[in-house]
Subunit: 413 residues, 2 copies
């Protein structure tokens, strides 16, 4: 069985982390920026050195294909994304892409010809920080998101995804999706504390939590902070603060899997001596069970109505996104567990709290993910980090499962 080259994998991760690298050791590599282009170019140049055929599709996804014995067979696709949060870490996404590249390098080193083609993919705009929604490239590829709508999405400066991709020369011509994938595998840092706390090397990912996103507007009344007595106020921020604590309670009541986060706050007019007239909140709510997640939504609506009445403010609540829980392919999950065990890595089954490109891929092909621990469970943070041994172990399991799925024979399964 071929082995990952630890030094090569870690060097590649380290080279990639320089692109958009921040002083605090993280990266800022927003989708379709100059930094994203440099990262894409580096990945593509490395893949070309490995004799891969590069193709760019209409949403800018990059596929690096290593041919198999029978190129009419559906490929095994491995990958993740190279874009980051504004204050992101160096492994979130990039690890999955470079572990996929390392798999191809190992196959080349060993002179192994797989039955099926093996492709390393870098999906466009997984983070959605600059162009919402998240997981745009895999969403369009899988047919869950509309290509034209995705391309017309604008960033806060009014630049469209289409123009941004053009500007970095990654508006490709290949048809997006519309082809059969045999298996999709994604290696990723856990982005949570569970594996580290349990001293476990490999997370065998069963699926992804369901997510609901809500926009809340609270409308009070702007007034001068000096002459307006406390009882005469309609302070939108006081109402919002009350609500934020109640939203936290919803998750606590659905422990240990329930999660609620108020991640964004917009306040108007945002002047120290003016009572806030309007507050906007952006809510993220998660649970692996669709039924519980629906209950949590009802609870949110109830605490919102209660807050409106008690605080005498107006406003509304809109659900802007629902992503149902995802359950990964049982056979592929079993294969990951088997390979991790064969390699004598400690492993456990785990549900992903974060969304991943694997979510959309699971809609169209057998899909699963491999998690490795990250320091203190931190991600979406410049301090995000992972141990060398874990990075190598995850890539090794990816290689083993990829090889098993791509086959050594002229497979037709």
């Amino acid at each position: 069985m071929p082995h990952i080259d630890p030094k090569r994998l870690l060097n590649s991760l380290s080279e990639m982390a320089k692109i958009g690298g921040t002083q605090k050791g993280g990266v800022c590599r927003l989708a379709a920026t100059a930094e994203d282009k440099t990262a894409r170019d580096l990945f593509a140049s490395w893949a070309k050195t490995e004799n891969c055929e590069i193709s760019i599709d209409q949403i800018g996804n990059i596929f690096a294909r290593r041919p198999g014995k029978n190129n009419n067979l559906a490929p095994v696709v491995l990958g993740s994304h190279l874009d980051s949060q504004p204050t992101g870490g160096k492994f979130d996404g990039a690890y999955g892409v470079l572990a996929a590249l390392e798999v191809i390098r190992c196959l080349n080193d060993s002179g192994i010809e797989t039955g099926r083609p093996v492709e390393a993919v870098s999906w466009t705009n997984e983070e959605g920080s600059r162009f919402p929604p998240a997981m745009m490239g895999s969403g369009v590829f899988s047919g869950s998101l509309n290509l034209e709508k995705a391309l017309s999405t604008q960033d806060i400066n009014g630049i469209s995804m289409s123009d941004a991709l053009d500007a970095i020369n990654y508006a490709g011509e290949h048809l997006c999706g519309n082809r059969t994938i045999h298996t999709y595998l994604e290696a990723h840092i856990e982005q949570g504390p569970i594996l580290e706390r349990e001293n476990t090397t490999i997370g065998v990912v069963l699926g992804i939590q369901g997510i609901r996103w809500f926009d809340i507007i609270i409308q009070g009344r702007e007034a001068h902070a000096g002459p307006t007595p406390m009882p005469a106020r309609n302070d939108a921020l006081i109402a919002a603060s009350d609500l934020i604590l109640q939203i936290e309670d919803i998750a606590l009541q659905h422990a240990p899997d329930g999660r609620t986060t108020v991640g964004t706050v917009g306040i108007h007019p945002n002047s120290r001596n003016v009572i806030p007239g309007q507050v906007k909140l952006g809510i993220d709510m998660r649970h692996p069970d669709a039924g519980v997640l629906s209950t949590m939504k009802k609870e949110l609506q109830a605490v919102f109505e209660k807050m409106r009445k008690e605080r005498g403010v107006k406003g509304n609540i809109d659900e802007i996104w629902y992503s149902p829980p995802t359950i990964f392919d049982a056979e592929t999950v079993d294969a990951i567990e088997a390979m991790a065990t064969l390699r004598q890595y400690t492993c456990r089954r785990i549900t992903s709290g974060a969304g991943h490109d694997a979510k959309y891929m699971a809609d169209i092909c057998p899909t699963a993910m491999i998690f490795i621990p990250c320091d203190e469970g931190l991600s979406h943070n410049e301090a995000e980090n992972a141990k060398d041994a874990h990075l190598v172990a995850g890539a090794q399991v990816l290689l083993d499962v990829a090889l098993a799925r791509a086959g050594l024979l002229n497979a037709d399964r």
Copy 2:
């Protein structure tokens, strides 16, 4: 006793409101703009018609002087300001200036020769919207602000106050301040809801609330909203929300005069699926009693420390400004109350929640203010409004008190 001419006063207010008038019925007359010049010119031309001597000082304050029997005596000065907020109302400031002009007109109509000179003043840049800080003209006149520093203040386009005053021909040559004022009186809309709610015509203003401004930083830890279990979080926004409710409580515990406002919120990274790592709050705290205001400051520090411990976050609190409470001259306050009662207007003692030019004048001479109700307590808002009867009543009390203070004899007190 002479009477205000209601029609003349209301017509003058209405003419003045056309200058910089907005579609929503307010005014936009930022300091030292073309609109401010037109308003100043109109005031000066009206005052000249009343045979007043006009003088402009180095910071652009306009004094219209009606001589008395003994022009060596310190004058009684009445006034306010003609500049406005960007979306200001038609009475905030302009009312006090035109009520002062109406006093002079009435004295002329009645052929009354006062003992002391009576001056109507329009102070430069009370709002501070274009050139911070607020109350610049009266601040320099009273010696609290430095003339050169004020003149070098730049607007957001880099234009200095000095150049702006030159451009509108109101960079005067008269020495700013440095002379004795016998009494300063200012009529103003309340800018709060108290008089209207109590159906009271005249507010006898006892002074101006003390103000403390604080900046608070709460430092939690940024992490991914999906995979991070609730107990593993250090959410700066949850801590901030808890604190905001406790800051409100501080004011409620010092009812009815205590005021606390969290007017600004900055959140980092402000991304829906990232647990907020940092929140900045801007606090405005007011009370008319300096001792109570100090107690409230200690309570703020205590709830901040409690929040830090309970929520496991870091951070700090800085006081960035302290403006002590102002107590107006007791004799002048009594005179206002007496005159309002004689005229059979309902009246009550009240503390100003907002700053006014009278604050700086109180440092150098006996000072007091007359408040009238405004609709729904609204100001710094184009919808600001006041009732004709109240506008007339306030001017009448201003006339009566000015006359009492200026005297009919060759006073030397």
